[in-house]
């Protein structure tokens, strides 16, 4: 029996009705993970013993009538920058091979408390920076739709484990698009919550003012369920917000009639013709559902890119400065030579970037005063070939996710179909600060009317 097509909600129902056991589901997931890893290399490590122990505990709880929440007994994976007590947080780097975590990261803590079953640690780009880099201790994850096409990153293993049918949910992080870009290129739902919505404690940082944690999932409903578990204030994360957590699930099926959707046209300036056609198609679908769709003014995409590159390099270099000085040869060359550029900025440069960032954020807030949700693209085009690895300073680069790390607004990548050459296509939707509830409702409508739910898993799937 395959569990690959069952949603988090379906799995939860079957577990609660005792039609399946968590041990049975976990054994199947372990087999599926091993069957595709290789060739897809989504997992850095698979944890059969601890996973089966967690599953047996979940089954005992179900038998005793103890319900810890919607993910009890359900397997998940964690990008290998999240601390799990007793395991190394490798960051997919030689530097992290012996870095044993002393306690769980905040999100792993929440999932463990909720009875979820950790299957393993997932591939990333080195310390969630640039990639893929061939000179690292683990192979990079491969795109299940076409192994010669990039997965995007840096939450590459998380996206691949879901798109290949092994998992329904995996943890990721997003500093410039690292949840949404692989979601777009591999065909998963990727939600970057509002800055401060999900704790980052115990997640290896890249750029402290830009880092966000969240989940990649197979569907929008799965994303809502995951966010419900992961959200909430953490007094040990000084950027964590005390804004109350909504019910993200109850509104999902409410129609979008009457909602105002703003197309952020200036953020599409490097989009391919196909991507532009996708935006128009989704706009028409939303109109046919009764939403009002119109263009809104937003700052140019290139300006967000210039600001985020500088902030990321300054803050990223600061975090890795000691290792860069003393053991630079242990980094992969791609990360080392890019992060080293962070040494070239000054204090006034940093403050100018922060001011530019504030202005850009205010402009996005102004745009969102006139509509409920923004519609734009996640990536300029479908997954490209591996060579050449993109230059992060290329203003024509494929990422269209940067703006919302700059502003902190919640943003979600939703798959909408396959291109003529069989690669996933997506759109990006952006919500008001801390309004993931409405964002998920619109995302669910897009998922439903786009036809993505009828697209089968790729041939390599579990």
């Amino acid at each position: 029996m395959s569990f690959a097509t069952l949603s988090l909600r379906d799995l939860g129902h079957q577990l609660r009705r005792r039609e399946i056991s968590s041990v049975e589901l976990t054994r199947w997931t372990l087999e599926a993970a091993n069957a595709v890893n290789p060739p897809l290399h989504a997992f850095i490590s698979i944890l059969p013993e601890t996973a089966l122990e967690s599953a047996a505990r979940a089954d005992r709880d179900f038998a005793a009538g103890i319900d810890r929440g919607p993910l009890q007994g359900i397997p998940y994976g964690a990008k290998d920058i999240f601390d799990v007590a007793g395991l190394p947080t490798t960051g997919h780097s030689r530097l992290g091979l012996a870095a044993l975590a002393s306690r769980d990261s905040a999100v792993v803590e929440r999932l463990t408390t909720g009875g979820a079953v950790l299957m393993g640690k997932l591939a990333t780009f080195e310390y969630a920076t640039y990639g893929p880099d061939a000179d690292l201790p683990f192979p990079h994850a491969r795109n299940p739709w076409n192994r010669e096409r990039m997965t995007g990153g840096s939450s590459s293993g998380s996206a691949v484990a879901i798109a290949s049918g092994v998992l329904r949910m995996a943890l990721g992080s997003d500093t410039g698009g690292s949840i949404r870009t692989p979601s777009s290129w591999v065909g998963t739902v990727g939600l970057k919550p509002t800055f401060g919505r999900v704790s980052r404690r115990g997640c290896f940082p890249l750029s402290s003012s830009l880092d966000h944690c969240g989940a990649l999932t197979r569907s929008v409903e799965d994303a809502a369920i995951a966010l419900q578990i992961l959200s909430g204030q953490d007094p040990l994360d000084h950027d964590s917000s005390d804004t109350p957590v909504d019910d993200y699930i109850q509104d999902l099926e409410i129609p979008v009639r009457g909602l105002r959707i703003g197309i952020a046209r200036s953020l599409l300036e490097t989009a391919s013709d196909q991507t532009l056609a996708n935006i128009e198609r989704v706009a028409d679908l939303l109109r046919s559902e009764g939403a009002e769709v119109f263009d809104v003014q937003t700052p140019p995409l290139g300006l967000f890119g210039t600001v985020i590159r500088a902030l990321l390099l300054i803050e990223g270099y600061h975090l890795h400065e000691q290792d860069m000085r003393t053991r630079i040869e242990d980094f992969g060359p791609l990360m080392a030579r890019r992060i080293a550029l962070g040494a070239g900025y000054t204090g006034p440069d940093y403050l100018a970037c922060l001011k530019a960032r504030r202005l850009l954020a205010e402009d996005i807030s102004a745009a969102l005063c006139g509509c409920d949700v923004l519609l734009c693209a996640t990536t300029a085009h479908t997954a490209p070939a591996y060579e050449p690895v993109p230059n992060p300073f290329d203003p024509a680069g494929p990422s269209m996710t940067n703006p919302f790390n700059v502003t902190g607004n919640p943003a979600i990548s939703v798959p909408i179909g396959l291109s003529p050459d069989g690669l996933p296509m997506s759109v990006q939707l952006v919500g008001k600060l801390f309004d993931e509830r409405l964002l998920l409702r619109v995302a669910r409508a897009v998922e439903r009317v786009s036809g993505w739910e009828q697209v089968p898993l790729p041939a390599v799937a579990a």
Binding site: F195, S266, E269, T270, L303, A340, L341, Y345, K355
Partner: protein
């Protein structure tokens, strides 16, 4: 030095013109980024020495190109930051104090 297609897309952004550099100026700066002047090379070497970084010789040319692009982008950031007043408080998260309703 030829300006690449990517740079043309960047420099041709209509709405960007109101914020930052004139078109010719941006093309000039982008061209310089592709062919760093001696002063840029000296600045790069000085900064890397100050940071006490030992860089592989094979990285140098790619890093110089990206360093040149980085300086170009910083100029655009400074000009944009100078277009309006805004309070900058590095310790506070970007979400604070914004109204969207």
């Amino acid at each position: 030095m030829e300006v690449t297609q990517g740079q043309r897309q960047f420099t041709g952004t209509t709405s960007f013109d109101s914020y930052a550099l004139a078109n010719d100026e941006r093309i000039r700066m982008a061209t310089e980024a592709q062919n760093p002047a001696a002063s840029v090379r000296e600045e790069f070497d000085l900064l890397m020495q100050r940071a006490q970084l030992t860089l592989a010789p094979s990285w140098r040319e790619a890093m110089l190109t990206e360093f040149g692009q980085m300086r170009t982008e910083l100029e655009a950031i400074r000009r944009y930051a100078g277009t309006r007043k805004a309070e900058v408080e590095p310790r506070l998260p970007i979400t604070l104090g914004r109204r969207e309703r």
